[in-house]
């Protein structure tokens, strides 16, 4: 028989171990040691700023596939049918919403909240508020009424299904926010670190806030001219951009982004990635530039001998092609193989004088390398835009905002030409050429707004969403729809983006209410946002 002692001992041991194991305290085992519970909001601001132009996916869908072809800056590629021929691809229309809200918006709302009332972060807080306006402005201009006041607060505010604010109310809040944030900016206080736009320069941020204020005020010219004028004037008086050195931009690193990397220019990568570049300049843009003797045309429209996957090693044959067939791109509403051009031969000095057959695709002009370089700057808001907006405002309301509309128009043209020099490898257009350009294109009576806004449309090349918004609010340039039988789902150029399917499923009641307010009560891309009055 086993001694009783041993039995008891083992039983005790068992019980002790059982009790120990059954314990339900695990200390901090359920805290992820590889991530943080806190983060300097300045880093969030920086990430939001960088993602805006660094994110490949959103720049590809929103810029290259939808707005740039829609606004007839580019054309020709198979993938341009979505925006250029109005082949409705809900996925691409939804993408910026699906990316912004759980990314940039979530973080900027969080950063604003966490810096609120923090004495050492008053400037950071103000900058985050401006950034928040900038982010929401792009969204509301695309979709109309959107979740704004309750957005991004599922965790911080417990709001699972944010309501849709009226675009009108959103704009009202934009103006309020910009004014307050600008007033809150104080050069004597903390200098925000890691700011990618202006490196914490509070003075520059003030100018950006006012320039953005001007842009948003001018959106309202059709729906509420009085308010537009009042806000535009206020913005101007507060101090807007006065030179290209004020431009709000991000200088990207020379990295070809993948879908996770955001260091390089995402829009550039969207255009330069892939085997051979399929995107072409749209003839709408080329022809406008041709008729205005635009000195920029020769720099931005290029013919290249393709070099698969090595866009920057392509051989420039613009001169030889131009000599034979002139400069042409792809017509709006055409694929590159429509309007097929027969091949011809040229000799190429770079190839040791060898003969090269210029086929159809090669004859159609592409975007110049400097525009699509990985380290190309992304221009969020330019001085040229500010001048064109002021020209529009001065003419529209017969006022002088620091100058006449003609003066602003000419300054805008000049800035638009010189801003190309901000691109690494970009052209420095001579003063003489710019003067010639200005004198070739005086503002013609009754066509002032058209000419001003057509120039702005050109200056907004490489900023599809903004060009699209300005085209809708100004009505210029007049674009012929790129309708393509058998492909197009709309005969006219869409006026807004439809709400994402996910929102209709997950936030049904709120989105339904918003759709009720759209003309006809249908969520359709041919309907208009509030400020885009018929």
């Amino acid at each position: 028989m086993i001694p009783v002692k041993q039995q008891i001992l083992s039983s005790c041991l068992l019980v002790t171990v059982c009790l120990f194991f059954s314990c339900n305290k695990f200390d901090d085992m359920n805290t992820d040691p590889t991530r943080s519970a806190n983060l300097n909001p300045a880093l969030q601001l920086a990430q939001v700023q960088l993602q805006f132009s660094g994110d490949l996916e959103s720049n590809e869908r929103l810029g290259v596939l939808e707005t740039m072809p829609m606004i007839q800056h580019i054309a020709g590629a198979w993938a341009n049918q979505w925006g250029g021929m109005y082949v409705k691809q809900q996925q691409y229309l939804s993408l910026i919403w699906e990316k912004d809200y759980p990314g940039k918006i979530l973080n900027i709302v969080d950063a604003v909240k966490r810096t609120e009332g923090v004495a050492s972060q008053t400037n950071l807080n103000a900058i985050c508020r401006i950034m928040k306006v900038y982010l929401f402005a792009r969204l509301t201009d695309l979709y109309g009424d959107i979740p704004y006041s309750e957005a991004g607060q599922a965790y911080s505010g417990g709001i699972s299904k944010p309501k849709y604010d009226k675009q009108k109310d959103i704009y009202t809040d934009f103006f309020k926010e910009l004014k307050e944030a600008s007033a809150q900016l104080d050069p004597s206080k903390d200098k925000p670190t890691q700011d990618i736009f202006y490196n914490g320069d509070v003075g520059q941020w003030k100018k950006f806030a006012h320039s953005l204020h001007l842009r948003l005020a001018m959106r309202l010219v059709k729906i509420d001219a009085t308010l537009a004028q009042q806000e535009a004037t206020a913005a101007f008086n507060a101090g807007v951009f006065t030179s290209n050195s004020d431009i709000c931009k991000v200088d990207h690193e020379n990295v070809q982004n993948d879908y996770a990397d955001i260091r390089g220019n995402g829009l550039s990568v969207a255009l330069n990635q892939g085997d051979i570049i399929a995107y072409r300049l749209c003839n709408t843009l080329i022809n406008t530039m041709k008729t205005t003797n635009d000195p920029r045309l020769e720099y931005i429209a290029k013919n290249y001998i393709d070099n698969p996957y090595k866009p920057f090693d392509r051989i420039d044959i613009t001169a030889q092609v131009k000599e034979k067939v002139g400069v042409s791109g792809v017509n709006s509403g055409n694929f590159i193989w429509d309007d097929y051009k027969n091949s011809f031969d040229i000799t190429v000095p770079e190839m040791g004088g060898a003969s090269f057959t210029v086929d159809n695709n090669t004859q159609k002009a592409q975007l110049a390398n400097f525009l699509i370089a990985n380290n190309a700057p992304f221009l969020h808001m330019t001085y040229a835009e500010v001048e064109f907006l002021l020209a529009d405002a001065c003419f529209r309301w017969g006022v002088s905002l620091g100058g006449t509309y003609t003066e602003h128009y000419k300054k805008g043209m000049e800035a638009a030409c010189t801003q190309l020099a901000l691109f690494p490898g970009g052209p420095v257009i001579s003063a003489a050429k710019i003067e010639q350009f200005k004198s070739d294109n005086p503002l013609q009576a009754a066509k002032e707004l058209e000419i001003i806004n057509t120039q702005l449309w050109e200056a907004l090349f490489m900023n599809g969403p903004e060009a699209y918004a300005n085209w809708r609010r100004s009505g210029y340039p007049a674009l012929t729809p790129g309708f393509y039988p058998g492909y197009s789902n709309s005969t006219t150029i869409p006026r807004r983006f439809e709400y994402p399917l996910s929102e209709k499923v997950q936030n049904a009641d709120n989105v339904k209410a918003a759709i009720q307010d759209i003309e006809g009560g249908v969520d359709d891309w041919t309907k208009r946002v509030w400020w885009d009055k018929q």
């Binding site: 009783v4 002692k5 008891i8 001992l9 083992s10 039983s11 005790c12 068992l14 019980v15 171990v17 194991f21 059954s22 314990c23 339900n24 305290k25 695990f26 085992m29 359920n30 992820d32 991530r35 943080s36 983060l39 880093l43 969030q44 939001v48 960088l50 409705k88 691809q89 809900q90 691409y92 919403w97 699906e98 809200y101 918006i105 973080n107 709302v109 959107i146 979740p147 957005a151 991004g152 607060q153 599922a154 965790y155 299904k161 944010p162 890691q194 070809q256 993948d258 260091r263 990635q273 996957y309 086929d359 159809n360 039988p485 492909y487 994402p500 929102e503 499923v505 997950q506 936030n507």
Partner: protein, 1164 residues
């Protein structure tokens, strides 16, 4: 002895301790040492027994009809041990006794015993099995004397017999024999024959407890190791397909190194892991997901295989499948989806060296091919051939060109002109014949107290994809040793090393070869890419596939990926028998896997132009420890009680680093060091569960059994206020044929079983809090960062609960020639922990909450038997069938459905939607008019998709089954397994591409007309628009109606379309990134496959005897030799690209493989 000083006083108060003490006090047992003294004078026998019972704490059992317990006894004994006392008493009443535990059974001696004329002698002998291996523990019962002995480890026994006695020799698993010993045959060798159908089979159940199946209140499926080590699978679990009712195994498109989806009784978690728990020799095995293609829209990557694939089939003794939570209530949360118990082989019983060698060699060929392609029209678009190299590149994957004509020369993507003729078996020619070679040798030995088994296995597989191979070495050492009388220690170590070179990229991966060739123009010989995939500098040559479709020859020759897995599973188990009815078992085990993965893309690889290296290095560490106290006692002759109390700890820790680097500087050294732009990130997954459990089993008279369990888990992944959960189970088994002593001529065995159980489960770690993190790369030297939690955290999560009920019966007829096993079950899981969608405008696309109920209901049927059984020929047949209905009952309020997976194209999702079957496929259908005609877009003439998505199918099976046949004729055995799966659907994106790119036969209509029309148009010098306006267009007339206007009520009016268009445009319009029509590409995935064929020849013993070989067999084997029936053209229906919950998608699958080979098995 002062007992109290042994107890710490503070512990004494604890109820559990008190309980133990009570048990221990009551149990001195029958110990030889105890001495007793009695003095009876004319006491009735009854009272004598009572007195002994009191003194010795034993129970007497006897039949009052046989023994007169009123006989007066006069007896005096002094300091005698119990047995002496009992013996003396019995001799007084002419009875015999047997002491079993603390039960003393008394039997009256049969009358004939008293006048026995025969000479008693001692018979010695040995019991062996058919393989001449000694059998231990065989019962040898002398039917006359009722004495019995057990055979020892060497099979030997000795028993007192007299001539004319009958001896029965029995052991579970073998046919019982009766022999009549003769005086002259004193040494006897008895060969036991395996029973064809075990009357009382024993299975391994939870906690490693071996139990007779008759006593179980739930269904268990069992497969023997010998059934799966001939016709082998690289992943052993695939061998079980079709063999166990309700065990659903789907291999993925991941190839030999890939994983399998194993589902028992449907999905019980909406979005969690639904795969069973694997338990090896009683220890839960780590079954971490090593990584696979995800379920999101743009999913791509590799399938890194599963944990079960590390198990070597040669080491497997049996695999038991415990279905339903009641079977697995004791393993806790992880076992909520069933348990697969694997018992590995031990050494012994043979003392001399035992050697077994098993070798299999096989060749693999494509099982499926492109059987629905068209071979009339070649490269091009709109019915024309490519005009220049640029166009050739653009149309490389378009078969909407002109009619094939080998006399026509067309420019290629590389500028070289080639004939425009058909290349047959084009893609098939890319693949090679695969080979698999497996060698296994195992050594066993034993001493009196120790057994050892060591096995080494080597597996080498060369896949059908060139340059892709897998090697796996397994070393398995197991030793069991008895230290003294009470302690047994079982030590085990398994080391597995697996290396996979060039795992195939899957789904949307740019290196997915299955995808990259899709739609390749049928006049372009894939062989040209082999010669021309790189230039003189070694740079990639673009072939027209862009960055999303890499040249397969570049993929296999220049890109590389390696995966190595080093896995060490060790365990020590100690059993201490305190008394014959109390034992304590302690176990500790560690399962560590080191996974290293590296993928390399050289410079100029599209998408990674500067070169890229990326990889993962991760350790999967699981530690399990448990203690189990067992108390088992035959309380009375009729009542058996067993109480088991245990506690366990399960700790999982997976630290890992993920690295990637771009911009390769040193191109000759494929290493992280050679890159300029480097990135490294670490992560961790860690959780622990502490458990305490009890199991009470009651057996009554061998026909009624009841089990009750209770388990309490505490999980580290929930807040302390919510992290403890207790759940019970109850099960019973009733053998009515025995209970009612029914005649066994027709129904030889009948059992009814019932069980009910609840299981709780937790979630993954770190789901309760919000986290921030830095962006992976700094920008211009400065860090940027943000919120790093993508699913809204929820600190208030509660454990999920699953309740199940099952009832079943087991019937055996006609002396076991036919047996039937039928089970009906229901399961309901509530408080599901789900990632529920939120509107993204809230900042999170998902939140994690407790919500939702999902249920399963089904039945399983197994019918087996031996339709023919003669001396030379036996036909065994086993048919199984299982039906499961898996329904989502509810989700969180306001959540219409949960997405389980999203397809890359057409906006298709597999969802969990209330009221619908789990895994329903949601997609856009054709829009139809009231008459059911397809409505076409009036302008483009392409069919219009419905505005909303509808349920068009489902990814789960309605029913599954298998047919296992085995024919034995003399020394030949033929086995065949058929696997049947019915009722699921599959969205084949491969076939969608075949249509979009004009490869599919369905796209041929109207092509000739279109080409003619275009020739006329060009001759007329008209533009497309002008020709269109002229009304002279010929081509494909899209089938359907177009709206021509509206009637008075504003209702649309439709007319049949008569307008022809370019068939290429028409079919091309089915392409959609988002809202596309699914219907034409959704197939019934049902299939009937032959999974296994084997023909074995057992070399006769008389031949082997001379060679000192115990046993040898030679087999011709095949796995997946052919598909009897399928409805999906071009691909294998078993081609899902991941093993997640959202099944029903196939995208660019590689062809599946069939294998034929030879197997040799020799035992010395």
């Amino acid at each position: 002895m002062n007992k109290s000083f042994l107890f710490p006083r503070n512990l004494l108060s604890h109820s559990i301790v008190r309980m133990f003490v009570v048990c221990l006090m009551l149990s001195p047992g029958i110990a030889a040492q105890a001495q007793y003294s009695f003095n009876w004078s004319k006491k009735p026998l009854k009272d004598v027994f009572s007195a002994i019972e009191r003194e010795a704490t034993v129970t007497f059992a006897y039949n009052a009809a046989e023994i007169n317990d009123k006989i007066p006894i006069t007896l005096r004994v002094e300091n005698a041990n119990l047995e002496n006392v009992v013996e003396t008493v019995c001799s007084k009443v002419n009875s015999r006794y047997k002491i079993a535990g603390n039960i003393i059974m008394i039997q009256g001696k049969p009358a004939e015993m008293s006048n026995d004329n025969f000479v008693e002698f001692t018979l010695t002998g040995k019991v062996v099995n058919e393989n001449n291996e000694e059998l231990q523990g065989v019962t040898i019962l002398n039917k006359k004397s009722r004495k019995s002995v057990f055979s020892k480890e060497n099979g030997g026994f000795s028993i007192k017999v007299a001539e004319g006695d009958a001896l029965t020799i029995s052991i579970i698993g073998y046919e019982t024999q009766t022999i009549y010993p003769k005086l002259n045959s004193k040494i006897l060798v008895i060969e036991m024959k395996k029973s064809a159908l075990d009357l009382n089979p024993v299975v391994v159940t939870a906690l490693g407890i071996k139990r007779e199946t008759r006593s179980l209140g739930y269904a268990v499926g069992e497969v023997q190791g010998s059934e799966i080590n001939k016709a082998r699978e690289v992943n052993v679990i695939n061998s079980l397909a079709g063999k166990v009712p309700g065990l659903i195994i789907n291999s993925t498109a991941g190839g030999p190194g890939g994983s399998s989806r194993v589902i028992i009784r449907g999905n019980t978690e909406i979005s969690g892991n639904n795969q069973p728990l694997y338990v090896v020799d009683g220890v839960p095995m780590d079954n971490s997901n090593y990584g696979q293609v995800g379920s999101e829209k743009y999913s791509s990557g590799y399938d890194f295989g599963d944990a079960i694939s590390a198990i070597n089939p040669d080491d497997i003794e049996t695999i038991s499948v415990l279905k339903g939570p009641s079977a697995s209530a004791l393993y806790g949360s992880r076992a909520g989806h069933g348990v697969i118990l694997i018992t590995t082989k031990k050494g012994g019983p043979k003392k001399s060296l035992g050697i077994e060698y098993n070798a299999t060699g096989s060749m693999e060929k494509l099982l499926t091919n492109f059987d629905d392609y068209q071979y009339e029209y070649g490269q091009g678009s709109a019915g024309t051939i490519p005009r220049d190299a640029t166009q050739a590149r653009i149309t490389m994957f378009s078969n909407f060109g002109a009619k094939l004509d080998p006399n026509l020369l067309v420019p290629g993507f590389d500028g070289v002109t080639r004939p425009y003729g058909l290349v047959k078996n084009n893609i098939e020619n890319f693949f090679r014949t695969g080979t698999t070679l497996t060698n296994n040798i195992s050594l066993t030995t034993a001493t009196d107290n120790t057994t050892f088994r060591f096995s080494v296995s080597d597996l080498r597989n060369n896949d059908i994809v060139p340059k892709s191979n897998l090697t796996r070495n397994t070393f398995n050492l197991r030793g069991t040793s008895k230290f003294g009388k009470h302690l047994t220690v079982d030590v085990k170590g398994i080391y597995v090393k697996e290396t996979v070179i060039n795992r195939p990229g899957l789904a949307d991966d740019p290196s997915n070869i299955g995808n990259n060739f899709l739609g390749l123009a049928n006049n372009i010989d894939q062989d040209i890419f082999e010669q021309g995939y790189k230039d003189a500098n070694g740079d990639y040559i673009d072939w027209g596939g862009g960055q999303y479709r890499l040249n397969p020859y570049w993929v296999i020759n220049e890109m590389k990926n390696n995966t190595t897995k080093d896995r060490l599973m060790t365990s020590v188990q100690a059993n201490y028998v305190i008394t014959d009815w109390i034992s304590l078992q302690g176990r500790i085990s560690s399962d560590i896997t080191f996974l290293d993965f590296m993928k390399f893309s050289p410079r100029t690889t599209p998408g990674s132009l500067l070169g890229r290296i990326e990889g993962v290095s991760r350790k999967y560490n699981t530690t399990e420890a448990d203690l189990l106290l067992s108390l088992q006692k035959q309380v009375t002759p009729d009542v058996y009680l067993a109480l088991r109390l245990g506690s366990s700890l399960s700790h999982q820790k997976h630290p890992g680093t993920v690295f990637s680097a771009t911009d390769m500087q040193l191109t000759d050294a494929v290493a992280f060091n050679s890159f300029k732009d480097k990135l490294i990130q670490d992560d961790l997954y860690e959780k622990r569960i502490n458990s305490f459990y009890g199991l009470l089993s009651v057996g009554y008279k061998n026909f009624l059994y009841l089990d009750a369990t209770l388990r309490r888990d505490a999980s580290s992944t929930l807040l302390p206020i919510n992290n403890t959960y207790v759940y019970p189970s109850l099960s019973g088994s009733f053998i009515f044929t025995d209970a009612f002593k029914m005649s066994k001529n027709f129904l030889s065995f009948g059992k009814i079983r019932v069980s009910a159980a609840e299981v709780g489960s937790d979630t993954d770690p770190y789901k309760l809090n919000l986290y921030y993190g830095l962006n992976e790369r700094p920008f211009q030297g400065e860090s940027v960062g943000g919120i790093a939690t993508t699913i809204k955290p929820n600190p208030n999560l509660l454990p999920t609960r699953t309740r199940s009920f099952e009832i079943g019966t087991e019937l055996r007829f006609l002396k076991n020639r036919l047996n039937v096993d039928l089970t009906y079950y229901t399961q309901k899981s509530r408080d599901q922990i789900n990632n529920v969608p939120l509107p993204v405008s809230s900042g999170f696309a998902q939140q994690i909450i407790n919500a939702g109920v999902i249920s399963n209901e089904g039945f399983e049927l197994l019918v087996g038997g031996s339709p023919v059984k003669t001396t030379d020929f036996t036909w065994n047949l086993s048919v199984n069938f299982a039906h499961n209905k898996n329904v989502v009952n509810s989700l969180a309020d306001g959540v219409p459905y949960l997405v389980l997976s999203e397809a890359r194209w057409l906006g298709v999702s597999v969802v969990a939607m209330p009221g619908a079957p789990y895994g329903s496929i949601l997609g856009y259908d054709f829009q139809r008019d009231d008459a059911g005609n397809v409505i076409l877009d009036p302008v483009s003439l392409s069919p219009l998709p419905t505005t909303d998505r509808q349920i068009l199918g489902k990814g789960t099976w309605d029913w599954t089954g298998g047919i296992v046949n085995s024919f034995t004729y003399k020394n030949f055995t033929f086995n065949g397994t058929i696997d049947i799966k019915m009722g699921a659907d599959l969205f084949s994106m491969t076939n969608m591409y075949a249509v979009l790119r004009g490869s599919d036969i369905s796209t041929i209509e109207g092509r000739q007309e279109w080409i003619r029309s275009e020739e006329k148009r060009m001759a007329a010098g008209k533009t497309v628009q002008e020709w269109d306006a002229s009304g002279m267009v010929e081509g494909y007339v899209p089938k359907g109606v177009v709206q021509t206007g509206t009637d008075a009520n504003g209702k649309p009016v439709y007319a049949l379309n008569t307008k022809p268009i370019d068939p290429g445009t028409y079919w091309g319009n089915f392409y959609s990134d988002d809202q596309g029509i699914l219907t034409p590409f959704l197939y019934d995935a049902s299939y009937i496959k032959v999974r296994e064929l084997s023909l074995t020849y057992d070399i006769p013993k008389k031949v082997l005897g001379k060679l000192k070989i115990t046993n040898a067999s030679f087999s011709i084997v095949s796995r997946n030799p052919f598909i009897i029936h399928k409805n999906v053209p071009n691909v294998d229906p078993d081609s899902n690209y991941n093993n997640g919950n959202g099944q029903g998608f196939e995208y660019g699958s590689l062809p599946s493989r069939r294998s034929w080979g030879l197997n040799l098995n020799v035992r010395f």
